[in-house]
Symmetry: C2
């Protein structure tokens, strides 16, 4: 018993040999003993001509299981080179949701080619799914499910399953509808197997039906899978007719997508659907520039604040004569300015810890908008203690630095004023940053804005501005005598 | 057909009434028409005494389906108040992985009480799972699965399923082992149903067995579920004996945990397992302080760099006499210092965009460590263009600000030197930040460190130091004449 995925390179070589030798018997054996996912991975390493021949030599069943797992670029080239008939054969055994996943990555000429090669029925189904907005239940559902009528017997239902066999994506849960196609209940294969053949489905079905509407956000769908530990969820339209199912394997993919989107947003990147290396330079520039520009422009705020304080510090420069002017310049350049990135960095980090925690807790529904005051209070208390720890460590840090710089002579009172300024302003700033960081995402959600977007990037700007303002204000108190 | 989850408050009131009226008949009806998840949610809103009575009035089956979905605090109080016998009844119908999940949240006295109340067999199973390290396949597996012998017939297998009925967590996939309990294949219920009764399982089983080892990281398990679109995965020990299964609903929970951990790490928060409101203030302080301290201490680097440049700028102060000293102080305080947060903020954001993208791409395996050079080259090109856009916008921004400040008189050459300094240093810094941000996580992974930890927090420190150094270096070139 050896895990196959370890030896993709071996598999590639084996397939290549079998294809070149046209060894159908061995190929049959090969496809029965390997997973389509692994075969797809192995094929991707081969020449495109070999891939096309291999897909033709494998049984139709296997080929259509392999195809959805191939790289989009390779899929595109294969479709490009195939005849209408070949496409029709390949796609006829694919589940509709897989076809839709494939087509969504393709340029429009390829989409048209595939649709032209499909049966009118398949075309209608595909178009039907393609019309749903991205990120809705409708866009991720499959129409390959098995539907029973409520007045069928157990025996009739089992016969139906046998008939449909490979056409259904899920073989374990079945949906029971009335004559108007309204969803009435679900039946598990297990229950069919262990029930008397002449019982009506209405007698054995589970009437506690969970469902999603086609237009529901895919996050709603994810939440139901998580909460109810289900493996399929029926999808109904606005007239409450059953139109499709979502399976748990698609939900795993969707979770990944949603999480990536959230993580990117928190870093100020507009979401793109594509993988890193498949995203063009231009698309990447676009998804990153917008927020960077916005943040740079809003950094004007802290620039203005610092300028303002520089003027306040120097306001009496001309009045008090040269020596005082020199003195205050020296204080600003030698004592205060070097600390700017320390204060803004530390406060920024403290704030983004809080905002990140809350954004994630909001998306897991551990925190709701009604918890505003509770979060504020909790963050405030955490900040009180964290701040104390930070300024204690900072005190030691500062004393060490100044001891080294002055070779142990810490008599200069300006050193102590600087330490006091940084300590007090860091304490106040950390509290401010944690309280704002914790509540800003909740506020965003209340205003129906995206908490993830409001998290890190915007917060940094606000916190930068406030922390520098606090820093120089406190400085004014201690250094007033020098101005 | 109404979604039950909408009316939790109604449900609570209904349960309370039925419990107080001791209306067993209606309660039976109630439990059959509602999901245990919803009943648990409704119970949580009631008084604890009512919850305990309700759990006693519901059938054992229902109660043990409800219990795992209750809040950990409520579970604890209930166990506390129950007799050994009651606990034994409640837990005897729970799946082992649910018991383990519950016990992991409980204080040790509660764990002991539950273990004392369990049968020796159950106790051995629970202890067996509890001994596996967190985050391994062993720690998330369930031992409630159905195992067939390879030489059984289809009829024998179906009979076994009927017997075990509720004791198995998965009713659709079954595992086939030899006499030594080595995993040989899997059988789907569907295949049993549609096969002749006298066939041997060895003839119909799928021999392409996927599995995980007990000690495998749970991420490996997640990856297999994603890749192979499976709903269960068998777990084997080092002797290759089948010891448990992981089901997809547990995988959904684990994915959530792993993602939260990654997101927290990227924000410099040491991972905690608990929900936001359940994490104590002290635990939160601890999980946040460590990185904040570390980052604050490493900000010493940029502090020293700025101090150093301040000295370089002022080095000739005494030599050149008073007017030059005044001049350079003025330049530093009025032109350069206010831009410090602009340059460090923008560069920091640019860098964390890249590092966040790469950390996520690494965890999705879109990017591998061998892609170091490819990422570097891509980030470099993205940075070349993004940087150009940024400094163009910045140019306009600066001209506007200075126009307002000087009331339109832009004749002062120092204004233009400042704009040039910021533009050039921002361009270089953004390129530097994106290249470091993109490659640092890959480097971390190569060194077997956690890319998520190396991402945002540490990057900011590095980028802060470098960008201020670049800024003041470029400034030296333009303002050399004033020094």
């Amino acid at each position: 018993m050896l895990e196959k995925s370890e030896n993709i390179k071996h598999l590639s070589e084996e397939i290549e040999r079998l294809v070149i030798d046209n060894d159908i018997k061995k190929l049959r054996e090969f496809e029965e003993t390997h997973y389509p996912q692994d075969i797809a991975e192995a094929l991707e390493k081969l020449d495109e001509k070999i891939i096309i021949i291999a897909l033709r030599l494998f049984t139709n069943d296997t080929s259509s299981e392999i195809f959805p797992h191939l790289d989009a670029d390779i899929q595109e080239e294969i479709i490009n080179k195939m005849s209408s008939k070949q496409i029709s054969e390949l796609f006829s055994d694919l589940y509709t949701d897989d076809i839709v996943d494939i087509l969504e990555e393709m340029p429009s000429n390829i989409v048209k080619k595939v649709l032209r090669s499909s049966t009118p029925e398949a075309r209608a189904q595909i178009n039907n799914i393609l019309k749903y907005n991205d990120d809705t239940a409708g866009s991720i559902m499959s129409v390959d499910y098995t539907r029973f009528k409520v007045d069928w017997t157990v025996t009739e239902a089992i016969e139906k399953i046998r008939e449909r066999n490979e056409e259904s994506e899920d073989h374990n849960t079945f949906y029971v509808v009335d004559d108007l196609n309204n969803l009435k209940g679900t039946v598990e294969l297990k229950d069919l197997v262990f029930s008397k053949g002449n019982l009506k489905l209405s007698e054995i079905m589970d009437e506690r039906v969970l469902f999603a509407f086609t237009k529901d956000d895919q996050e709603t769908v994810i939440d139901k899978f998580k909460k109810y530990d289900i493996t399929t969820l029926p999808v109904i339209n606005i007239q409450q007719k059953l139109v499709g199912i979502v399976t748990v394997d698609d939900v795993l993919d969707v979770i990944e997508e949603e999480v990536t989107e959230d993580i990117h947003k928190m870093a100020g990147i507009s979401p793109t659907d594509d993988e890193y290396f498949k995203t063009s330079i231009w698309k990447m520039v676009r998804s990153r520039s917008i927020w960077l520009m916005f943040l740079m422009i809003s950094a004007t705020l802290s620039q203005i604040i610092i300028s303002m304080f520089m003027r306040i510090y120097s306001v009496n420069q001309t009045n008090n004569g040269q020596s005082s002017a020199n003195e205050i310049s020296y204080i600003i350049t030698m004592f205060l300015t070097p600390l700017l990135t320390v204060i803004s960095g530390t406060t920024g980090n403290a704030g983004s810890q809080s905002s990140t925690m809350i954004v994630r807790a909001l998306s897991l529904k551990e925190v709701e908008t009604k918890d505003f005051a509770r979060v504020l209070w909790k963050e405030f208390r955490v900040a009180l203690i964290t701040g104390l720890i930070l300024i204690s460590v900072n005190f030691v840090r500062m004393v060490v630095i100044y001891s080294i710089e002055t070779k142990g002579n810490l008599n200069d009172p300006r050193i102590w004023y600087t330490i006091a300024t940084l300590s007090i302003s860091m304490y106040l700033s950390v509290i401010m940053a944690k309280v704002i960081g914790g509540t800003l995402p909740i506020l965003a959600k209340k205003l129906k804005l995206d908490p993830a977007v409001m998290a890190a990037p915007l917060l940094t700007t606000i916190v930068d501005a406030l922390s520098t303002a606090i820093f120089f204000s406190i400085g004014l108190i201690f250094f007033a005598q020098y101005i």
